[in-house]
Assembly symmetry: C2
Homo-oligomer: 439 residues x 2
């Protein structure tokens, strides 16, 4: 059989990796797919640089400047979008679909924001939009969620899905350093970008979480409803106290099916140190999925980088190659559930989320302080699971109190914090970090 | 669309779990599959017990005594084989295939031994034989290997794929107890069977490893070539010494693409304590897959039990339901590679395997002993990575020496061990345990 022809939009890190993997493993891939996968055209901004990369990969592929030349080319079966960003890519992907081409993309931002429109267009046209590479790089988590766990009512997902922030948190803990210091180091080493906002403020993780949530619960993508909190305000002292209490702090994307709706939130989270996911270090990614039949399962691997991401892109290419002439009913629905069977379960506002909490406050070292605080918590219906009070230093009439709460509703904790901060004996703002047992 | 009709052969732990999950999550499953999955007939030995289970699950399904009634029924689309064992099941599965029915099975033993015959028959007849539940219970590892990592040249797989032995090893380590004591406890708790041979001697793990090896490397299943060593001879002292050196001992199934062939082996293995897989405790399973593009990935979850295994059975049912009327070319090949593209790379005999080694010996506490031993190792081309010599106890003229070697060929180690054991100052047999860095 003739090879299937693909067009690459973009030849950056992931594009270059994809070209290289397709070239190096072409025989292995053909033995699996039953058919070769040929890069027939590449569109880039910088033609000279691209030609050098193509040559280095040992390939011979025409390189063009205009991405629409690929999207409109009758020669191309699958468009691989690796440009990134929303505007141009939305136009390119929708035009590829309108032209009856399948699309493979690593663009989590595009799908988290415009996914409903794109999947609808693909559905109507009978083409596939595959996006394994958009979440957790080389880890086949989309496939696991969408196909591997179809027996389950998924209860929750919790994932380390941003390598930059996990690298920073690992360094902060290992070296006892503050966020700013470690961020600079991460930038120097290439683990963080010059403008790291997207990563460190949690948006990248929220894009990925949005996609997983839709697939897990059969709801539309709704990034605009996600609660997003990054790691920029995290202090070394809380990492240390958490450690003393048997916890690690990770930036987790969490989505859960609660009674009143779906939780969709990204924030720093205390996790028991003995959990496998608490031991995921450096730039690695891991996702825990809890299904009602299977229980907790975990998927771990490299969440970024040229070849790990290319691994996911090419896996999608093989899937699409296998099914591209098949009746659409034989294909897996884009969001795991049949398009006419999506649910309108709402995403809960963060106030309504249920979690445990780590609370740290600086208090005057006087009689009755603790009584006042615990009374406020009790009146708020918040029960305490563990407490740590540090001895005040010689001559210092202040001390840190750390409390771990049982599971409660966030708005109750916020109300209690306001009352606690109003106490004259409480000398600082209350630092509040969410905590999950994940069992 | 009418529901697809399945027939269950067997209603034991997994069969009961499958019935329950299909019943409880029928709506969720239909929303995903686009079609209901209906248990239309069940064959069992004990009719009364089965009827009680069916009633308890809230289902109404005819129960029969003769499994061939299902396999031959024109009403049944998919046969789910959950009986276990080789002989009857081989006949049933082949007859189901001959009748043009798809098969879903959890039977690792059957496929590891008769897989080539069964997959060939299915291929010729154009039906699917799905077996996600045969390896690592609810973890979708077959799907990850067969579809999620198709871009990769798989380099090696290492897995904790038997919960019973991992439970025993965890207890031996936590409590410092010997194998026999812990086995009895495991039997009492239901983690080990009355006749635990299959688990503790490594055969169950070897069946599962054989299937993963075939899928990873595109070779036929060849269980008869697997090297199988269980945990029955493992001593608490070695678990302790390994710990001191920074390692844990796990029963691993390892398959690796080496230069001269494929390694296929199950045995106790030292693994660095900091690896995620070293921290997989109790009856849990985990598999590490290393691909050339993606790097190391890990998959973790429950490897046995009614509902975790049912999770895999039902995922297969959804896959088969989706593709059962599709042209066979749209389906994933049984062993990941196209049947005409299998390779005849041989499985290496254990003597030719490359590994690191943990060696423990009891020696006389005399000058020159260590010099003799290290000379023998050096002459055998074996280099030492770490050594631990325990101080001899007061008045005891003997001591334990533990050595960790660098990677070498097994036959060299065996020759060196024979020479070491011949030394008059070496007072015991040399305990040899293989060791893998898994990075």
């Amino acid at each position: 059989m003739n090879p299937i022809k693909i067009g690459l939009l973009g030849l950056g890190t992931v594009g270059g990796g994809t070209l290289k993997v397709l070239q190096r493993n072409q025989e292995e891939i053909r033995r699996r797919a039953g058919r070769g996968i040929e890069v027939a055209m590449i569109a880039v901004r910088n033609l000279d640089r691209a030609r050098a990369i193509v040559q280095e990969a040992g390939a011979t592929v025409p390189v063009v400047n205009d991405p629409f030349a690929i999207v409109d080319s009758p020669e191309i079966d699958i468009v691989v979008e690796l440009i990134g960003g929303y505007d141009l890519t939305r136009e390119l992907v929708l035009r590829a679909i309108a032209n009856g081409k399948h699309v493979v993309t690593a663009n989590k931002a595009l799908l988290a924001v415009h996914g409903n429109e794109i999947f609808k267009a693909a559905q109507d046209k009978g083409v596939m939009v595959a996006f394994e590479a958009a979440v957790a790089g080389g880890i086949p988590i989309i496939k696991a969620l969408r196909e591997g766990l179809t027996a389950n009512r998924i209860e929750w997902i919790a994932g380390i899905i941003n390598g930059t922030t996990n690298f920073i948190l690992t360094e902060m803990r290992d070296k006892g350093l503050d966020f700013d210091t470690v961020l600079k180091e991460a930038q120097r080493l290439g683990y963080a970008e010059a403008d790291p906002t997207f990563d460190i403020e949690g948006f990248d993780a929220a894009h990925k979480l949005t996609l997983m949530s839709a697939i897990a619960f059969g709801v539309p993508v709704q990034f605009e409803r996600a609660y997003v909190e990054g790691i920029t305000k995290l202090e070394a002292v809380d990492i240390r106290y958490a450690e003393e209490l048997g916890y690690r702090i990770k930036l987790l994307g969490i989505t859960r099916r609660a009674e009143a709706g779906i939780e969709l939130r990204v924030h720093p989270t205390l996790v028991p140190a003995k959990r496998l996911i608490a031991n995921v270090e450096g730039a690695m990614n891991a996702v825990v999925v809890n299904g009602d039949a299977v229980g907790p399962t975990l998927y771990y691997g490299k969440g970024a980088g040229a070849e790990p991401t290319a691994s996911a892109v090419v896996a999608d290419l093989v899937d699409v190659t296998r099914l591209h002439t098949a009746d659409p009913e034989h294909r897996v629905p884009h969001l795991a559930f049949q398009p006419d069977a999506l649910s309108d379960t709402p995403v809960l506002p963060i106030d309504e989320v249920r979690s445990s909490y780590y609370l740290r406050m600086r208090v005057a070292d006087e009689t009755g302080v603790l009584a006042d605080i615990t009374r406020i918590l009790a009146e708020g219906g918040i029960s305490i699971d563990a407490m740590l009070q540090k001895e005040s230093r010689e001559g210092e009439p202040q001390t840190d109190i750390i409390m771990l709460s049982h599971v409660t509703v966030e708005k109750r904790v916020n109300a209690a914090i306001a009352a606690i901060e109003a106490l004259p004996t409480v000398l600082s703002k209350v630092t509040r970090i969410r905590m999950e047992e994940l069992n």
